[in-house]
Symmetry: C2
Subunit: 136 residues, 2 copies
């Protein structure tokens, strides 16, 4: 493939499967229509890969496809809506901070459990009756 990247190249570069890439296209998650060769194959460029890498970050951090779609749509509709894009990203940033906080809180509780179990296992492996919660 001369200048561009095949769907397989992009799959390798982004970690997404070819099926996922076609799915993304159907869902309008790209910033532009992906052009085709005479034979009908998709031709991507590096910029598409970079956008997908950002998508990966947004997805990993919990942004649903639907929101990604809204963001892509804003970008596609050209300059002039930067405030909206900013608002969307800020909202997501806040959501991520909250998710980290929730995970950190859960982590503490889980770690406490681990400490208790560790203590229990270390002293007296010949264990007595002991359950995390129900005494029944």
């Amino acid at each position: 493939m001369k200048g561009g990247l095949s769907i397989g190249d992009v799959a390798k570069a982004t970690g997404l499967g070819v099926h996922a890439l076609r799915f993304f296209e159907r869902e309008q998650l790209f910033l532009r229509p992906i052009p085709r060769t005479a034979g009908g194959r998709r031709v991507y460029e590096q910029a598409d890969v970079e956008w997908l890498l950002l998508c990966n970050r947004l997805r990993e951090s919990g942004m649903p496809i639907a929101t990604l779609k809204r963001f892509a749509k804003l970008v596609r509709s050209g300059p002039g809506n930067e405030e909206e894009r900013l608002a969307l990203l800020e909202e997501h940033e806040q959501a991520v901070r909250e998710k980290i906080a929730a995970l950190t809180a859960s982590l503490e509780i889980i770690h406490d459990k681990v400490v208790i179990y560790r203590k229990h296992v270390e002293e007296g492996t010949a264990a007595g009756v002991w359950a995390p919660t129900p005494s029944a």
Copy 2:
């Protein structure tokens, strides 16, 4: 309901729906068989609620139902497998730490994007061509 809690009570106390509680029971996620009234209604106790609250924490922090099931099974099968329970929890703790790290990494990237957008929006609202990535 005399001494125990109804399914509705438990739903209120845990935030889980009654459907979810019946589902949990089918999936063997409880630490004991939940007893019934003469008429067939489930009778829970406080200990069950506390276990469910721990389950919520484990679930929120990304533990799949299947793993929760394994843990519940270990506890149900009585004392003697504390090392296994500990290993399971430690593994999950590690997974949570990694998840937090991944989120933190994504957050940084997203925050950078936000900063760029903010700068762009502040200076010159009459925007020029500007997209997050693809120049095409």
